[in-house]
């Protein structure tokens, strides 16, 4: 008796199409994730291949590590700075929406979006030059309108705001596009109906725009939060974590531990701590903000 397996073209396509992403996921995501977790319980010596089981020692050490605390504080500073910046993006998106002429709107949209397509490293290098206290163009412009020169990247107090400006400049365009997409998905009929009912612009914003934009806000907030926690390029290229340790961020510290200290076990444990921070914060955001999301 012949047993046959009926595989339709569709099933074959699904199986084939899934094989590649599943393989990719296992090799490049799952395996590194598991191996990093395994490493985080060990001290691993490069080249000799010696791996000593340390249990939770790496995790316990992190809690007493002053540099980790400094990096965490700096990262939170960046996260807060960029959270405020989100409202700038929303404001700009609203302003863009109100520009009636598409041509002018597109010009502004392009201007805001250009930094997003500039390579992060190149942008960071350019900003380093612009921030130069003696010769930099920013201090030159500020002095021409009567401001005293700023020390920017060379001052422990000014370095984080300086980095926030760069990150904001880089990411603003993309956030505006997201908000614009969110705004354009709100049906115009709601505004028309509210106008007939005599609603003011503020009432339209409060009762139509805001509730219907909350899914986009949640998305932008969560992804922006995660990306701010992962800040690395700017401190690496512009300050190398300096002056001193004033611009150490969590991911920069992981990099330092892994590639300067060659302490892969500790760096892996740090990575998992960052993962936990992101996971808990994102969960809380989703749990408490989602209730207020209109969907």
């Amino acid at each position: 008796m012949k047993h046959t397996i009926r595989l339709s073209d569709r099933s074959r396509f699904i199986v084939t199409a899934l094989l590649i992403p599943i393989g990719w996921f296992i090799i490049f995501r799952l395996y590194p994730l598991c191996y990093t977790l395994y490493l985080s319980f060990h001290t691993y010596y490069l080249l000799s291949g010696q791996m000593i089981f340390q249990g939770l020692l790496n995790y316990v050490s992190i809690l007493h590590d002053t540099l980790f605390i400094t990096s965490l504080k700096n990262t939170i500073y960046i996260v807060l700075g960029l959270s405020i910046a989100m409202w700038i993006a929303l404001g700009l998106a609203l302003a863009l929406k109100n520009i009636k002429k598409a041509f002018i709107r597109n010009i502004f949209r392009t201007i805001f979006f250009i930094p997003t397509v500039v390579m992060s490293v190149a942008a960071a290098q350019i900003w380093t030059w612009m921030y130069q206290p003696s010769y930099g163009v920013i201090n030159y412009l500020l002095s021409s309108i009567g401001f005293k020169p700023f020390l920017w990247l060379t001052s422990p107090q000014q370095v984080i705001p300086a980095l926030i400006i760069v990150i904001l400049w880089k990411n603003l365009g993309f956030t505006i596009i997201l908000f614009e997409a969110g705004l354009s998905s709100i049906p115009g009929i709601f505004y028309e109906a509210s106008e007939i009912d005599g609603a003011t612009k503020w009432q339209q914003f409060k009762y139509i725009t805001w509730p219907l934009l909350t899914p986009t806000l949640l998305f932008v907030f969560v992804t922006g939060f995660i990306s701010a926690l992962q800040t690395f390029t700017q401190p690496y290229v512009m300050t190398m974590g300096g002056p001193g340790t004033s611009s150490y961020t969590l991911v920069f510290y992981v990099y330092q531990r892994a590639f300067a200290y060659k302490d892969l076990g500790y760096a892996s444990a740090l990575s998992y701590i960052i993962f936990l921070i992101i996971f808990i914060a994102s969960y809380l955001q989703l749990r408490y903000v989602k209730e207020r999301v209109w969907a």
């Binding site: 206290p133 003696s134 001193g244």
Partner: protein, 460 residues
């Protein structure tokens, strides 16, 4: 018309799957069988004169280089991978030298691979970790201890040690001796830290070049102009960013007669009165607002500084082609505070131990060719320090280059410990905080002592 679903016979399905699995198993078995056998080799460890010669029996795995075809005898056609760091003028010379070698030895193909400087150290270590390093590796002194401790390098043959002794500039051989007393390869580039002065500006201010670090601090104070809280001019300016911080401060520390670590490399040794003074000196010569990085320093030097950054052996290349056109410069050699000493580093040619003897012989022959007078002059013409006495003769009249070569015996490298990268990170962070006036030099050294001792004691 509805397309009929294609049916696959279950037996056929199993047959094809079985064939695929069988193929994989047979292929894997063949691969395993064809893999060169593990052999026990007797490895003679060559040691530098003055140290105890040892002979060790080591279990080594002989691996056929992936780039050679087993059917072709290596003597007839062999590809040698050579990894080098990115520096365009330097790369051009090295590539030309490789081409010259290949012309002379058509059976050898040198695959010259260039990696950006910030990544090359990690990539070299990762390649050894993956048991697939290049056959010829260029390695800077900072990373050598990691490779030395892991015992993955081939000691230099006797003839190369003799060449270092007889043909290289005085002091070169000593620079090549690693922490375990063994020479693993000759240097092809020194980095010697000497202060460089803009002669025009010195004359303009009627100043003589300083001889000690304290004199330089005084000159710097006289020359520094601060406007609106920002330094507009300074007598001297280090660029206090990243690894440069450690590189420069350690040079000053050496001139103050101190060391970073104790001789047994178990503790931090710089937290002393002189150590504090050296850090105060270094910090006072940092003007991060004027020279926050290397490139800004170049810019500042061309415009107004009387004393510029110490550009080590590359200086001459910069003078010839770089950012110092039309500026008269000079160096008085190492500044002497308590001792005449400065910091240096070097790039070495090294050969992985894991490759078969015939391959290693070819690699050593390439190194020999690279360190011949003709090739050395190619680098010297570019602006690098000549490595050979013979090349040096051609630069007798060049006071500037002579000062660098004369300084070689007065140089000292970083302590040869594989924990140096971690120690350097601590130095960069704490000295950086002192530069930013977050903490005092005393506090910086105290924190460094605590953290570095923790690293050395493997404590967390």
């Amino acid at each position: 018309m509805v397309k009929e679903e294609k049916k696959i016979n279950r037996r056929d399905y199993l047959k094809y799957t079985g064939a695929a699995i069988g193929g994989l198993v047979v292929g894997g078995a063949l691969g395993y069988l064809l893999k060169p056998a593990e052999v026990v080799e007797k490895t003679a460890t060559v040691t530098a004169p003055g140290s105890i010669a040892t002979t060790t029996i080591e279990r080594t795995v002989t691996v056929t280089p992936t780039i050679t075809t087993p059917t072709i005898p290596p003597a007839k056609a062999v590809t040698i991978n050579y990894i080098d760091y990115l520096n365009p003028p330097h790369n051009k010379v090295h590539k030309d030298v490789c081409d010259m070698y290949m012309k002379k030895h058509p059976e050898v193909n040198i695959n010259y691979v260039i990696e950006p400087y910030p990544e090359i150290g990690d990539k070299i270590i990762a390649s050894f970790e993956a048991k697939n390093p290049a056959h010829l590796v260029t390695c800077v002194s900072f990373w050598m201890p990691t490779l030395v401790d892991a015992k993955v390098l081939e000691p230099a043959p006797d003839w190369m040690i003799k060449k270092l002794e007889e043909e290289f500039v005085p002091g070169a051989k000593e620079l090549c001796v690693q922490g375990d007393g063994v020479i693993y390869g000759p240097t092809h580039e020194f980095g010697i830290h000497l202060p460089i002065f803009n002669l025009d500006m010195l004359e303009k201010y009627n100043l003589k070049p300083p001889k000690t670090w304290e004199e330089l601090v005084e000159i710097d104070k006289q020359m520094t102009i601060v406007e609106g809280g920002v330094t507009k001019q300074a007598g001297f300016a280090f660029f206090p960013k990243g690894g440069w911080i450690a590189l420069h401060w350690v040079g000053v520390l050496y001139a103050y007669g101190e060391k970073v670590l104790t001789s047994d490399m178990k503790a931090f040794a710089a937290n002393t009165e002189r150590g504090i003074k050296s850090l105060e000196t270094y910090v006072s010569l940092c003007h991060p607002d004027l020279c926050p990085d290397e490139f800004a320093t170049h810019e500042a030097f061309t415009k107004q500084l009387i004393a510029g950054e110490d550009f080590i052996s590359l200086t001459r290349a910069y003078v010839k082609e770089g950012p110092y056109p039309n500026i008269r410069i000079m160096t008085p050699g190492p500044l002497e505070q308590y001792v005449k000493k400065t910091q240096s580093y070097a790039w070495f040619y090294v050969v992985p131990k894991m490759y078969p003897s015939d391959i290693k012989e070819i690699v050593w022959d390439i190194i020999d060719f690279h360190t011949d007078p003709e090739q050395d002059m190619m680098m010297a013409d570019l602006g690098y320090l000549p490595m050979l006495k013979k090349s040096l003769e051609k630069f007798k009249e060049d006071e500037f280059i002579k000062a660098f070569v004369d300084a070689v015996p007065y140089t000292e490298m970083y302590p040869p410990t594989s924990k140096w990268p971690a120690i350097e990170s601590v130095i960069v962070a704490q000295v950086g905080r002192a530069i930013a006036k977050e903490i005092t030099p005393e506090q910086a050294l105290a924190t460094m002592e605590e953290q570095i001792n923790s690293i050395l004691g493997s404590k967390k």
